[in-house]
Symmetry: none
Subunit: 225 residues, 2 copies
Amino acid sequence: MRLLIIEDESRMATALQRGLVAEGFTVEVALNGPDGLHLARENTYDAIVCDIMLPGLSGYRIIEALRAEQNWVPVLVLSAKDGEYDEADALDLGADDYLIKPFSFVVLLARLRAVLRRGVRPRPAILACGDLTLDPAARAVRRGDAEIELTPREFSLLEYLMRRAGDAVSKADILHHVWDAHYEGDANVIEVYVGYLRRKIDIPFGRHAVQTVRGAGYRLATDGG
Amino acid sequence: MRLLIIEDESRMATALQRGLVAEGFTVEVALNGPDGLHLARENTYDAIVCDIMLPGLSGYRIIEALRAEQNWVPVLVLSAKDGEYDEADALDLGADDYLIKPFSFVVLLARLRAVLRRGVRPRPAILACGDLTLDPAARAVRRGDAEIELTPREFSLLEYLMRRAGDAVSKADILHHVWDAHYEGDANVIEVYVGYLRRKIDIPFGRHAVQTVRGAGYRLATDGG
DNA sequence: AGGGGGCCTGAGCCGGCGCTGAGCCAAACG
DNA sequence: CGTTTGGCTCAGCGCCGGCTCAGGCCCCCT
């Protein structure tokens, strides 16, 4: 579990880091607002622990900026303020939880776990053509209920064809997208890999989802053959 | 938005009901634990506000019962207790938030809105893949009834894989989340630790929950192998 | 019918991916 | 101060996936 701590009091930051590392988290620390926002943008964290009063850029602004960019990483806010409206503000701004200093480490841990447990991870849609399905996140392909094992190259070829299902896709396009953009080898690889694909997703099932469009390229049947 | 309030002090219950109705919620009230559990089971609420000290059945038991039935309705806990471990307990038991009496109505509203915005939590407090379970708070892993001892690193690795169960997880992701963010060592450590994990959670049980996705990384079977 | 070009495929080489056992080192422990 | 434990490195090995190539098939054109 990878965390980002944004906290300007270095003693507090260090204490938090030590405690959380001891609990098995991977922890990075930013000592001011701009650094924190930069790190949060560049990397993927499972949660962010963020002070409100920060030099350069307040915690409020950081959350605001992240949410505006559709970044829904869970944020747990720390604050020395104790006005109740501050808390309401933070939660309405999109923070996931709120702790008032001083707080106990045990409570921080429990709330952090609660926040992590909820963790939002919108997975990309599963591609489907008839009973042929491909799940990019799970890297899994199945024909009906039958799981099919594909090599990485076969997988990206099928993924590309499925994303353009129904289109006749030229070999140049395939080379460009599935192989390297400036791939210099023999275009025959495509024929070879189309062959591999057919032997795994079509022939055993008596289907022909992968169709040859002579002179133009290949087409994947939208109904899966 | 339909709410259930489980609260035995009738003055408190009535005050909450009035305030929340005025805010536009539809509110039902149960004045003891068993009634509350019954209503929660029979109906579908967007959230439940639940006291801890209840006659007949404590708030803890209610949450426990609901979660055991895979009912992940958001629960906001109210309590007169103020020991920090109570709070930690409530959150680990599967409560979504926690307020200590006396609390202000404004804060309750803000936290309620935050809880509602998050919606139903996708995951339970204890991570489970089939009969393989991992309790982050207790740092305990078991296969069915058999307790399994893991080193900290092994535990972190398994926790990360379980949080992303079903996904093919790249070695880069694993390095970033389980090892340090800018870990410079050999990525071979992952293979080594995956090996350790398999020897503890899979091989002795004749399972294969930890799957190699050649060229892409690893995947934990959602059904535990 | 014949020829030609596009397409398919089986054989086979090669690089490197993934797994493992051995072993080193530091920290924790008694 | 020795022992144990956990984290990690390293080298070697087996085998898989990527790719090439040559031969043959099939479609289409004339």
